[in-house]
Symmetry: C2
Subunit: 510 residues, 2 copies
């Protein structure tokens, strides 16, 4: 019975009928953030942090481990001492100003193009886990099938605007060619925008080539079709794989998210202020370098930050310190006039229990209030990012719907104030069935169709299911009802021919 | 083994040793909110809402079902049409201005006095549930033993500053005298401040008399020893029980929280704006009336608000609409210069699962950012307030600790910036064991000792416990280690003598 209702709900989602907010898959547009932004730090504190970052970049420097990168830096007047680059203050301002404040990323379905930056929010699924978890089979190594499942679930959600990148690592595929299967799966099973591979310059070039096949080589130079994740190997270095990918993408004018990857207490100081100094310095170095490679390349100021538990060394997600860092990183990004990436539904917990949920909202609600423009890991993250949870994905997605509604803000129009109802419903009366209530029945309040609001008795009689049990039923229903978006057979053939040729050519690294 | 470690942890909490943040029970002071407040609504929108509230109070009015209240209103120039009171704009401003902007509530242990209002936050446990839940016995009717257990758990938490009121309804006691046992239990098993009974004027008078026995009749007129919850019977009426309690407490100059109790779509319009108009009007009517009874009576502007699911009529907690209402209600309270009560760890879920946790943070994080001065329901709430959960209480308490740390804000001092560490840790190095990390080891990051940050393997080998399973062990450990604070035997005897006399005197209502 529960199974049957779930399947119907799933079909409604996938099949477009009835839901006032989501009559078509992904019909819901990106939320536009016109509410006040939570500005935690004073202008003075921001200035202290930014000045310290500039001094760090100028006096201490940051390492670039890539011969071509060194040549580019030298050609643009950066002081190099060995592999350590020293950037001057004026140079940073000059090159940051070359980056666009916002840009559009192409989707295979043009109705799903996303705006990155400005007042727009973009939600994308978890990225990177080598493991998956579900209630039936527990934790296991992720496979291509899991990757494709998460692409499909993301496609079906109206609240995820972006298909993401390495949603999980398909560990059943050879390392040296799996990037092809991942990019292909995004194209084949979704029509939302997606990310490219960053595991090497060659893999980045393959991603660009596949995007060219889908969108055309010229079109993607006008507006990027790939948005890819360049992590800084903090502290203070960019490694050759990331630099190779960065250069390849920037030359093809594809979007880049430059993200210091920081655990305060490990790769960064055991202090939020110092972590922000480092984060700002490292992100700016990457942004400036990308603009040296190709001025105008779309770049996003990234901030992946939390702290470790100093007693055990374990990463802690959802911490109060990471909230503070997130707000202030957003202030820095806006100061630079750059789109901002941070946050997500982070959790340290191993399963979709209360801890996972507490932790996730402790990061995601600040993510929304800080106006993070690109939210990777907006659904599915478990176990410090080592695991993608099927149930967690479904539960997180419920929250994303709520954030969409929250961002619509306060309505003080005549309808929003309902003055006539206020005056006519008598003391002790109720507003059920008033003309105002009837007129606003479908839109007044967001409705989660997975969370339980029934009486205890009804909930108990229907099996006393916990939220993750209901989510387990739901994800299977969605996958059962999934229908792939149309893909031109000629394009599909071209993509497969390219992949097959590359799979024959690429030599595994030893 | 897990049990033994839990018991040790419990003892450490209760026994004062080792924890850098909480060396004594309740040693942690109230958090002071000096961060920016999240101001969601524009000044213009606030003005629209406030003006509409004033018109509602003046033109439509609000009912007072109590003969003495009617006399008081009339004596102060309020226009009465039957039981409907019409308040003029100037009158409202005049009487609101008589209320203190902040006040101190006495605790039996003066070190635990709390400041209500200003920049201070006060966290109190759940209030009102007739049921309790734990993993071992499921959901059952609450008894006096449960009430006392929650008083003890609240006493042991350094992050709950207030013992609350009707934490649960002790359904095993006679209705007409159970208020005596509740007030006595707060005094006997805790030394934190507490709330009085509001079930009738007589019960309020009993609460005042017991407070007089503890603190002295004069002392509690100087600074209130009781802070009690006056709910408006929305829409637009105050009933005789609440008015009787209000008058009794105001005459004794005890603190009052005037709270419209609103589900948008039921007792309020299906619109956040209209709900705020009503909420503001109803709360102001109660505040003004209390100042007419006794000018200078400490009053708190209360806002209990969420919406129903319009399809089923069920209350929905953690909704995006309720977040918006909470932020704006806080803005209204500050506009009036009144302490603010709202929010809490609300959840619709029946158990301490992911849904309960998502919902709770969706309310509690806005509660903190909105600078709610008095947070009832800050721990233990389940099932729309029908159930107090033991595990939920313990889990919520973990979050309260995190909010304490969050409110310390960003440190951009030399130590907060850690510039020397930033310059000396080499590229690719780490900050483990640096002089700065060692110097900040205990205070840099808040540490939950209940949330799990271990590796998957370790978590799995130790029993793969979910958060609510760990919380189950924890609450039993705390209760096992509990030691009552000292109570003067003569005072105890006086309290018991009073109770026995009253129990013989009070005639049950038919």
């Amino acid at each position: 019975m529960a199974q049957r209702r779930e399947r119907r709900t799933g079909r409604r989602r996938a099949g477009l009928a009835g839901d006032p907010e989501a009559e078509a898959v992904g019909r819901i547009a990106q939320p536009v953030h016109r509410l006040p932004i939570y500005e935690l730090a004073s202008e003075e504190a921001l200035e202290i942090i930014h000045r310290a970052s500039l001094e760090l970049l100028s006096d201490v420097g940051i390492d670039f481990y890539h011969p071509e990168a060194e040549a580019i830096l030298k050609a643009h007047g950066v002081r190099l001492a060995g592999q350590t680059a020293h950037f001057d203050r004026e140079m940073i301002a000059e090159y940051v100003a070359k980056a666009p404040r916002q840009f559009t990323q192409l989707a295979r379905n043009p109705a799903r193009n996303v705006v990155i930056g400005g007042d727009y929010l973009t939600f994308a699924p978890v990225y990177g886990p080598p493991f998956v978890y579900d209630r039936d089979r527990g934790r296991r190594e992720a496979r291509l099938l899991d990757f494709q499942n998460f692409v499909k679930l993301t496609y079906l959600s109206p609240y995820l605007h972006h298909s993401g990148g390495t949603i999980v690592e398909p560990t059943d595929l050879p390392v040296h060619t799996r990037h092809l299967d991942m990019v292909y799966s995004h194209i084949r099973y979704s029509d939302k925008p997606f990310m490219g591979s960053v595991t090497s310059a060659g893999n980045a070039a393959d991603s660009v080539r596949m995007a060219e096949l889908v969108f055309g080589a010229e079109a993607i130079r006008e507006q990027p079709a790939l948005l890819s994740l360049i992590n800084i190997s903090s502290p203070r270095r960019l490694d050759d794989r990331m630099l190779g990918s960065l250069i390849t993408y920037a030359q093809a004018r594809q979007g880049l998210i430059i993200t210091p990857f920081l655990f305060s207490g490990a790769m960064a100081p055991a202090a939020v202020g110092g972590t922000l100094v480092q984060l700002n310095a490292e992100a700016l170095a990457g942004v400036v370098f990308a603009q040296m490679v190709n001025p105008g390349t779309p770049v996003v100021f990234g901030a992946f930050q939390t702290n470790i538990d100093l007693q055990s060394g374990a990463p802690v997600f959802g911490s109060p310190e990471s909230q503070i860092a997130l707000y202030v990183a957003g202030q820095l990004a806006r100061r630079h006039g750059l789109p901002f990436r941070s946050g997500g539904m982070f959790a340290s917990s191993k399963v979709a229990d209360a801890q996972a949920a507490y932790e996730s909202v402790m990061v995601m609600l600040p993510t929304v209030l800080a106006k993070v423009n690109f939210v990777l890991h907006a659904a599915g993250w478990l176990e410090g990012g080592l695991t993608a949870g099927y149930e967690k994905f479904i539960l997180d997605e419920q929250l994303l719907g709520m954030f969409h509604k929250f961002l619509q803000g306060l309505d003080v129009s005549a309808n929003g104030l309902a003055l006539e109802s206020l005056a006519t419903v008598p003391p002790g009366g109720h507003h059920l069935g008033t003309p105002h209530t009837i007129a606003n029945f479908r839109t007044a309040f967001h409705r989660s169709d997975l969370f339980d609001y029934n009486s205890f008795e009804q909930w108990y009689e229907e099996g006393a299911q916990t939220a993750d049990e209901r989510a387990n039923t739901r994800y299977k229903a969605w996958l059962g009802d999934y229908e792939a978006p149309m893909l031109d057979p000629a394009l599909d053939e071209a993509l497969q021919a390219f992949m097959n040729r590359r799979k024959a050519d690429i030599v595994p690294e030893m």
